[in-house]
């Protein structure tokens, strides 16, 4: 799905050193030199937009919105209280992506993961500032923002990433998947998830922790299995 460790001889391989992280606590998902790229990343490297953004190419702005606009907007919709809040969040996210574009390195991580990580970090910070939204809330139609009911096609450039992401998700237990879906997909707190599902709070935390460990492990296994990409 993104840059994955190709070697497993050192326990901490594949983790970003702090100096490699973008400003503001954002993380380049994978920056260690031992990491290798997945085939989708190798294929898409020539089409990566962030290097163009970093070089100041104004046409890359539109291309970036074409490629990632629906993804970032969809992530924001899930975690924001209102359409106006989501619009502000998306603007904040794209400005952050553009300002940090020079920090993206295609040999160390996939562009979509870089974008999604910045988006999620910004959204988490925002949610923590304004407080979490209620379980059932959605903002469609409640904010004066014209929210389209239509669905955008997943950009073709993201399909390989989505396929790999779904593969990782499908290997989780039903409980892990459900809890992670509520937490990551809908931005619910651990406490809200426990309330909504009747699962004890400690068990919710365990499912989330083990689910994330499992996905992380699966991503690394995937890279080792395919052995794709050249060491950077």
């Amino acid at each position: 799905v993104s840059t994955l460790c190709g070697t497993m001889t050192t326990p901490s391989l594949g983790r970003a050193s702090r100096k490699d992280r973008p400003a503001g606590g954002l993380c380049v998902p994978s920056v260690c030199k031992e990491r290798r790229r997945t085939v989708s990343e190798v294929q898409s490297t020539s089409e990566d937009l962030l290097p163009r953004v970093a070089s100041g190419d104004p046409t890359a702005v539109k291309a970036c919105l074409d490629k990632y606009g629906a993804l970032v907007w969809s992530l924001a919709r899930r975690m924001c209280r209102s359409g106006t809040d989501a619009e502000d969040a998306v603007q904040d996210i794209f400005v952050s992506i553009w300002k940090n574009a020079a920090r993206y390195d295609s040999t160390k991580g996939s562009e979509v993961t870089f974008v999604a990580t910045i988006a999620r970090r910004r959204l988490i910070d925002r949610v923590r500032q304004v407080g979490r939204r209620p379980v059932e809330s959605g903002f469609d139609g409640d904010s004066g923002v014209a929210v389209s009911a239509e669905r955008a096609e997943t950009p073709v450039e993201l399909r390989d990433e989505v396929t790999l992401a779904n593969r990782a998700l499908s290997e989780l237990s039903e409980d892990q998947r459900r809890v992670l879906q509520m937490s990551i997909g809908h931005g619910l707190s651990h406490e809200k998830i426990a309330e909504a599902t009747g699962i004890p709070l400690g068990t919710v935390k365990t499912h989330i922790r083990r689910g994330l460990i499992r996905v992380r492990s699966l991503l690394e296994e995937q890279a080792n299995r395919t052995g794709r990409g050249a060491p950077s």
Binding site: L65, G69, W73, V127, R128, V145, I184, R216
Partner: protein
């Protein structure tokens, strides 16, 4: 740190997982900062978010927002403006002299040039 770069402490693992999905308060953030990689689970969380969003069907961005971002982008990408012409870099002054103006007092690495300097040289009131 145990195998695969995971911390051996269950408590730390729990904090790192919490950080990836809903963030931490300042106290917990300070606690995980001692770990080499506080972003341990960010990638996994982003991958899950990507899958969930795509499976639900991505929603197109509102046209108004898109237009605003298209207008904003070039300004963000533009290089930073050049330094103001009346400020010139000098060696940091050890102790700002009184009466030489705000630029010297505030910056310590700037001096007035042009009219400001001339005025200071000729205007005895400027030293007050």
């Amino acid at each position: 740190v145990s195998a695969h770069g995971l911390p051996s402490s269950e408590h730390l693992l729990e904090l790192l997982a919490l950080r990836a999905v809903e963030g931490l308060n300042a106290r917990d953030e300070a606690e995980v900062a001692s770990f080499e990689d506080p972003d341990l689970f960010d990638e996994a969380a982003s991958v899950i978010a990507l899958a969930l969003a795509a499976n639900d069907g991505l929603s197109p961005m509102p046209a108004g927002l898109r237009a605003r971002l298209e207008g904003l982008g070039p300004a963000v990408l533009a290089p930073a403006p050049a330094p103001l012409p009346f400020l010139a870099e000098t060696k940091p002054t050890a102790r700002p002299r009184r009466g030489l103006g705000r630029a010297v007092r505030m910056g310590g690495g700037c001096r007035l040039s042009g009219l400001g300097r001339d005025r200071l040289a000729s205007d005895p009131d400027a030293h007050d």
